[in-house]
């Protein structure tokens, strides 16, 4: 915000007289600093108004019923206005995921790191490619699943495996697993 005192520099006020220079210095510096502090504190509301508003924050948890998902199928839900993939893995997919040496991966994570105890067949990931944010294919019936049978991002050709881990292509990390928990045997709450 425009602040006329902000342009004042105390030393230019010193043109007249030699006596009392110290005291003058002090009061002018204090006044200009106060204006500076005031101007700076205006930035607090101006900046924080762009952060998510209360209604957006309130929507930040999503419940998904996983009972109807057949092995090998996935559903898309919406979490924080972004796609969320919930997939029930087949035994073969679990095996394939566990067969890979974790150390050889770009983003070293095992399937167990990415699923919950007792529900190892439920894979919950964000449907957001970690490269530049496109939605990968592979969740819906008939979509290309990529070279590793998981997800494939068509934007820049990132291939994810059955555990949603990056295997080939430009994406730097695995598909993000959001924080979630089972509220009952069949329902997960994300966020």
């Amino acid at each position: 915000m425009a602040d006329t005192t902000g342009t004042a520099t105390p030393d230019t006020a010193m043109d007249h007289g030699e006596d009392g220079v110290r005291r003058r210095d002090f009061i002018n510096i204090a006044a200009v600093s106060a204006a500076g502090v005031g101007g700076a504190s205006v930035l607090i509301p101006l900046i924080s108004q762009m952060a998510p508003s209360q209604d957006v924050l309130a929507e930040s948890s999503t419940e998904v019923d996983v009972s109807a998902i057949e092995p090998g199928q996935a559903i898309k839900a919406i979490f924080r206005k972004q796609p969320l993939f919930v997939k029930r893995l087949t035994d073969e997919e679990i095996e394939a995921a566990n067969a890979v040496a974790v150390d050889s991966l770009r983003d070293a994570q095992s399937l167990n790191d990415r699923t919950l105890e007792g529900h190892r067949d439920i894979l919950v990931t964000m449907g957001v490619c970690t490269h530049l944010g496109c939605v990968p294919l592979g969740a819906a019936e008939g979509e290309v699943k990529g070279e590793y049978g998981g997800y494939f991002c068509p934007c820049h050709g990132s291939h994810y495996d059955t555990a949603g881990r990056i295997r080939k292509g430009p994406a730097p990390t695995n598909l993000e697993v959001p924080e979630y928990a089972f509220t009952s045997e069949t329902v997960i709450q994300v966020g």
Partner: protein, 282 residues
Amino acid sequence: MIRIGGFLIGIGFTVVVLWSFAVGAYNFATEEKVGAAEYEFHKKPKDVSFEHDGAFGKWDTAQLQRGYQVYKEVCAACHSLKFVAFRDLADLGYNEDEVKALAAEWTVPGIDQDTGEAITRPGTPVDYFPSPYPNDIAAAAGNNNAIPPDLSLMTKARANGTAYVYSLLTGYGEPSEELKAKYPDFSTPPGLSFNEYFPNLNLAMAQPIVIDDQVTYADGTAATVDQMSKDVSAFLAWTAEPTLIERKQSGWPVLGFLLFATILAFFAKKQIWSAAKPKKAE
């Protein structure tokens, strides 16, 4: 040229407006003055005070919770609260689980996730208070053509609104003897209720809070008509401006700092100008 033109235009406007004045004054002097009951007997809201009044006010959360109960059990039958979400109830001192439970007590419109059909479902914290009527036409049809207004902003939408709501709720009665004597023709049309705090004295809303103990307060407060009216008025003051207390509380440090900075600025100004002033001749 400008001055001659201006002179003529000035005289022109003056003549026309004074002609209006003359006609108006003649009519004012000759016409019979017809008084109206609503001008004379409409009362200003009662004096009533709340915990949240004043520059240092705070919400009385117990009162707001009682007021919420009155809204839910009495007002909500006809009045919506569409700008308020259940999550906002946390301000009333409820914790997250309580807010969830309160929200679930309401039925809100939803969509069947399998068939896509319109259904109703229990509310969740992110939902807004549901409207009792599907649309304005239904609201008008159900209420003798008077649409019950949304209450979210009611206390800001009336002058001295919180006191107004309280006065209106406790202001039902019969026309005074004085009114009847002065305006014998005055009568409240069927379907309306006499209320001297309503601008035209005849209110479409029948008395909503009628008897003591119409609701049963959980905190043991005696639910008199006056108490319930006061509680729901306080609740509506909160719905109209949930940030009221935050606003007042952030105002003090700001003003305090400004006062300090302005005093500094005053002395800095004095200091600087002292270099210019002493030259003044004796």
